[in-house]
Symmetry: C2
Subunit: 127 residues, 2 copies
DNA sequence: GACAGGAAGTTGTACATACAACTTATAACC
DNA sequence: GGTTATAAGTTGTATGTACAACTTCCTGTC
């Protein structure tokens, strides 16, 4: 299973570009939270293919830091969280560019197509 | 970063197929240990793009269980470990087949090609 | 052979991840 | 409206993951 190896490589590269702004996992959660209307932990877990208990603990950290607020059936990114997300975004985009440049357009397309395909064939609850 | 999402999906699918024989990470380490001559923790970390401290703790667990023995400059899979690895192998292969069938040959090839490409462009120590 | 430098390995801390089991809140049914 | 079933969320436990700092071992140099 080199999928986790892939994840380790890219997580480290992205984390390096993020320069301590936040963890890649937190970025993913915040971003998803932002473009989900009426967000719940279960919804996040569903969308990101995470376990609900993982989301619970990740959200707990971000709540403690004031990045996120609200409970059952109404999770929101706070203004502070939104600001941090905006600050982190260019770093994220730099990481994306770095990866795309390293791979070339063809490999890049292939990678994302493959990731989408895996997501499509293993929908939540059907694993 | 959907790479970790991909890893979560496949890790769960593989773990499900493994039916409690061992964790996917342990399988990867044992397998690599087997086809490395003169294996060290640092060598494993290098090959699998893991941190040496991660390998240290994973190996510690497997040593405690008697799957692995030896220290500095001479890590070996024990007969017990070899046996478990052999038992787990068909489960692993079933997971591989399941993934390949779900994706189709083209997507499968694309996925592995992309994973190889990422590995090639982010060699150890150059991230 | 002594010493310094670097490689290998361990430990403290923190976050990521998930399964099992539990609690709590919501909704459906009577 | 009360009961129950289900969804949502939390907590216990275990593993995976990595950074920083430390210890330990080996090797090259004098």
């Amino acid at each position: 299973m080199s999928a986790r190896r892939l994840a380790r490589i890219l997580t480290r590269m992205y984390a390096e570009e993020m320069e301590g702004h936040m963890e890649p996992a937190q970025f993913g959660l915040l971003q998803m939270m932002e473009h989900m209307q009426h967000c719940t932990q279960a919804g996040l877990a569903n969308a990101l293919y995470m376990d609900k208990t993982t989301v619970s603990r990740d959200v707990a950290v971000m709540k403690k830091r004031g990045w996120v607020e609200g409970g059952r059936g109404g999770l929101r990114v706070t203004p502070i969280g939104r600001r941090l997300l905006a600050d982190a975004m260019p770093h994220w985009q730099r990481a994306q560019k770095r990866l795309r440049k390293a791979l070339g357009d063809d490999e890049w397309q292939a990678l994302f197509a493959a990731m989408r395909a895996v997501g499509a064939f293993f929908p939540v609850g059907a694993v």
